[in-house]
Symmetry: C2
């Protein structure tokens, strides 16, 4: 029997995990947890493919994955089984059987990350694991203005935590900054992201909002590919993989 290709959309709270990607010496990853359940369900050794990795502590609202299996269960039974055995901070939200050629990483058209900043003078108890509390006043207009410098096709080598020899050119389709009550939401949509790229972009915008950096720092970091020209890396727990388009 030919393998079936199953596409799932998952949501997870990354707080207690070492990131999405399976590790040799730890079972404490999103991929590791889900593969263990799939193995238990099917008896097969299944590799879960995702739209991309998320770092330790980063969350996902709509991470898209797929896997191949000979399992004959209906997709709704697979979803029920998975949600029955997964820990409460990982959940399968959608499931469907797709064409054998669908690949959740290779076929990505664009992805949107959301970074949530809390501006109140006290930390929000119920959102404390999902927002970054900034106590300093931020000049939001200058952040909005500076964010436009990221849009378009640029070499983002200066916004990456690792030295990579590979191509570091990416397209940022849009950055949208919304004020929602005491919260500042930064949506970053692009065709691909380097290691820590969104967190460094957001941290740079925060430094600009605090007047610690001028917006020209963005252009400089892009032109020189020099990480030291950009701002601080914002913490992981404010970041969430928000949407993946194919």
């Amino acid at each position: 029997m030919a393998n079936r290709n199953i596409r799932i959309v998952i949501e997870y709270d990354g707080s207690r995990y070492q990131g999405y990607q399976r590790l040799k010496n730890s079972s404490n990853t999103i991929q590791g947890k889900i593969e263990a359940v799939l193995c238990k369900m099917t008896g097969e050794k299944i590799e879960l493919i995702a739209s991309g990795r998320t770092d330790a502590g980063v969350h996902a609202k709509n991470q898209v994955c797929n896997f191949h299996t000979k399992c004959k269960k209906s997709v709704s039974n697979i979803m029920e089984y998975m949600n029955g055995y997964l820990p409460e901070d990982i959940v399968v939200k959608e499931i469907k059987e797709v064409n054998e050629r669908f690949h959740s990483r290779y076929n990505v058209k664009d992805k949107t990350y959301l970074y949530r900043i809390w501006l109140g003078n006290y930390p929000p108890v119920f959102q404390r694991k999902y927002v970054y509390h900034v106590k300093d006043e931020l000049n939001i207009d200058s952040m909005k203005d500076a964010s436009k410098l990221f849009e378009g096709e640029h070499d983002f080598g200066g916004f990456c935590s690792r030295k990579v020899k590979k191509n570091t050119v990416r397209i940022i389709n849009s950055i949208t900054i919304k004020e929602v009550g005491n919260e500042l939401q930064i949506y970053v949509k692009g065709n691909g992201f380097l290691y820590n790229m969104v967190r460094i972009m957001v941290g740079t915008l925060i430094d600009i909002g605090k007047d610690k950096l001028d917006k020209t720092a963005i252009t400089e970091a892009i032109n020189t590919k020099d990480r030291s020209k950009a701002g601080e890396k914002a913490p992981a727990h404010g970041l969430i993989l928000y949407e993946v388009n194919y």
Copy 2:
């Protein structure tokens, strides 16, 4: 020097606490945690008075408390100190010095509780500690209809987990049921609440929504004061003390 009377508004995630009220053999209560910080700050033995207790696992968005102290710090310094030493699941949101006669329990005019029910077919990862996931389909119209029977002045002895000899007559000003996305929000506003009263009221409405009970059960439980006529007690983690008016 005369004692100052300090009024604070606090927010807490009740998940890991044995409720609001201080216990002899446990430091794991909201009152216990806050009093320990106040004692550390002032060297005085301070009693924190709240608008009312909340049960183990119940949350608060706006719990109002007051305490008397000889401490000379400014209120903003007191708030900063408290938030610096309190655990991350308890926060002081507002603080002010009030008339010596203000008493956060005796002076309550009315209180509003919010009960959050999640109706999606999967549990919501980021809200999992604050909503009760009901998988069965609920007839929301009949819940709204039945909820009106609670409004007004009634003897709620049938909606109380403990046998009490005291007066069990309370006034429910309003019950409002809102559908917000996959969430059903039940706001209950009243002049006072018996032990577990909101959770039994909500559980009864859920049983009516599931067609396990008829709305006449509410009238019967009120008339007979018989707890067994009412429905299940809804779990603590969906309940939040939402607002207190004076």
